[in-house]
């Protein structure tokens, strides 16, 4: 009974923790411009993150080591260093975007300009990372993130033309007014939003922080195969809400207030309160995860003591990296760069960095030295390799598409 409870809790946390600022921005922007014509990318992306997160969970549970701890010994210190620099910079940019998202959520509730909230949000973020136990932190923000289910409720009560939305799902081409280049650009952004690199760093390191063993393989798999697809459903609901309210009149989404608006229109003030809470929890939870991930990547390359299981003074280098990363994230925002733009840029560079993150996972998950009988099966490898090809295509296309379309135009 207790186990069932903890598994359910884990799945709920995975659902609520799935959406972050990248999904909030990319899905509502895409919904407003393309209707549901790019929804298939979300599905493809969710399957991809499931395939690779399962590998990470398995590596963590069997070898008791997070995947990126193993990258250096398999790829060598040189390549792993390139990998580290790329992954760290992207994670830092994502962290900055998430902090911006937290500040924007608070602005929606208070109407006080987000820049005033940025330092406060960052400070609270750091205090939580410093003091709160790992599991409590994960659970609280994951469960609060479930508030985003309000997008599903809002979609239903908007009573959308389901037939039209359904038709758009199968239309695999850009609508009038959009080009194949913008279609491609948003496809890459959506894909990167679903597969953001920090998610796998965090998932594998989190498994070690929660002391997973072989017994927890089932928990890990249920989190991934049930939690993530349901989280992906929230992303699709977000997209559909924008598709219903904005696409027909040709409104483009470029702010978080627009992301929240469909819920208010459908459900009123109570819905609005819930969606603001959901956006806050989703971005704050993701800020915690990216902040830790920034520390994980560097500490795991050099072999430093990392994580929240030991007293901070015994992982001084790790905590210093986390602290400095948060400060750098704040610095990016204090240049008055629009957090939504920071998010869009972070998605493009996430796409570029995806191969750095995902290739090593596939390599390690096939290593009998670490995994023994739990190495990838044929199906997993077939899927893994297929996704690696897709990831490479997205990575190569990301920058050219960004330049050609001028960040989507």
């Amino acid at each position: 009974m207790k186990r069932l409870f903890s598994i359910t809790l884990g799945i709920l946390t995975a659902i609520g923790g799935f959406v972050d600022i990248g999904d909030l921005v990319a899905n509502s922007e895409t919904g407003a411009r393309f209707g549901m014509r790019l929804a298939w990318v979300v599905v493809v992306g969710v399957i991809g993150i499931c395939v690779y997160a399962e590998m990470c969970g398995r590596v963590a549970a069997v070898s008791r080591r997070p995947v990126f701890d193993l990258v250096r010994e398999r790829l060598g210190p040189r390549i792993a260093l390139v990998n580290l620099i790329g992954s760290y910079l992207v994670t830092l940019l994502t962290l900055s975007a998430e902090i911006g998202g937290v500040a924007l959520a608070v602005e929606l509730a208070t109407s006080v300009h987000y820049l005033l909230w940025v330092p406060i949000a960052a400070f609270v973020l750091w205090v939580v990372l410093w003091r709160v136990k790992f599991e409590i932190m994960e659970r609280v923000f994951g469960l609060a993130g479930l508030a985003l289910v309000v997008f599903v409720v809002a979609l239903i009560s908007l009573n959308p033309p389901w037939g039209d939305l359904g038709r758009q799902l199968t239309e695999l081409s850009p609508p009038g007014g959009e080009t194949w280049a913008t279609y491609g650009f948003f496809a890459v952004s959506l894909f990167a939003a679903a597969l953001t690199p920090y998610e796998v760093f965090f998932f594998s390191s989190g498994g070690v922080e929660e002391k997973w063993t072989r017994r927890d393989l089932i928990t890990s798999r249920l989190n991934v195969f049930v939690g993530f697809p349901l989280g992906g459903l929230l992303s699709l609901a977000l997209m559909a809400c924008a598709a219903v309210l904005f696409e027909p009149v040709g409104i483009r989404v470029d702010s978080i207030s627009q992301t929240a608006l469909p819920v208010a229109v459908a459900l009123g003030k109570l819905g609005l309160a819930v969606v603001i809470l959901g956006i806050f929890a989703a971005t704050f939870g993701a800020a915690l995860e990216t902040g830790l991930s920034a520390g994980y990547t560097i500490a795991q390359y050099f072999g430093w003591q990392w994580g929240k299981l030991v007293r901070p003074r015994e992982a001084a280098r790790f905590h210093t990296v986390v602290l400095v990363s948060i400060l750098l994230g704040v610095a990016i925002l204090l240049t008055t760069a629009d957090p939504v733009t920071v998010t869009e840029i972070s998605l493009v560079f996430s796409a570029v960095a995806l191969p750095l993150t995902y290739l090593p996972i596939l390599v390690v998950a096939n290593d009998r030295d670490y995994l023994g009988d739990q190495v990838n099966g044929r199906v997993t490898n077939a899927l893994g390799v297929t996704y690696l090809v897709i990831i490479l295509v997205a990575a190569v296309a990301a920058i050219p598409l960004m330049i050609v379309t001028g960040m989507g135009g």
Partner: protein, 144 residues
Amino acid sequence: MIVRGWVVAGLVAVAAITAVVADLVPPTEDGYRSTVLTSARDARSAVLTAAQVGDAAQHGRVTTLFVDAAVEDARDEVSTAISDLVDADVPGPGSQELRNRVLPLLTESSARIKDVATAGDDHDALAAATNDLRRLADALGGVS
């Protein structure tokens, strides 16, 4: 290793020169037109969003604090559209005419969007503001 360093330095130099040259090339009528159309399109998005917020406010579906935040976002968008337009060099008389047509619409957009926030709970004021905004959106949509 040294060769690679020079290649990288060369690429950076080329990128920097391209960026500088792109800035110095005199603007064309077509380039200017596309700047104007982009500004008009973005302003129309903001205006229509403000109208939707106004509608929601009339039905008591949003808090005043949210209205303030959303109006602020919409006005930011219009401000960006205005400064993009003002900063671009006008290449010729045709462009000047286009600019004179669009710029007043943009400045009016900013003012009318603000009306949604100042209307508060006043039902009639909100209705008037959203009507104005929809009319403006039509005008912005008609720019070509």
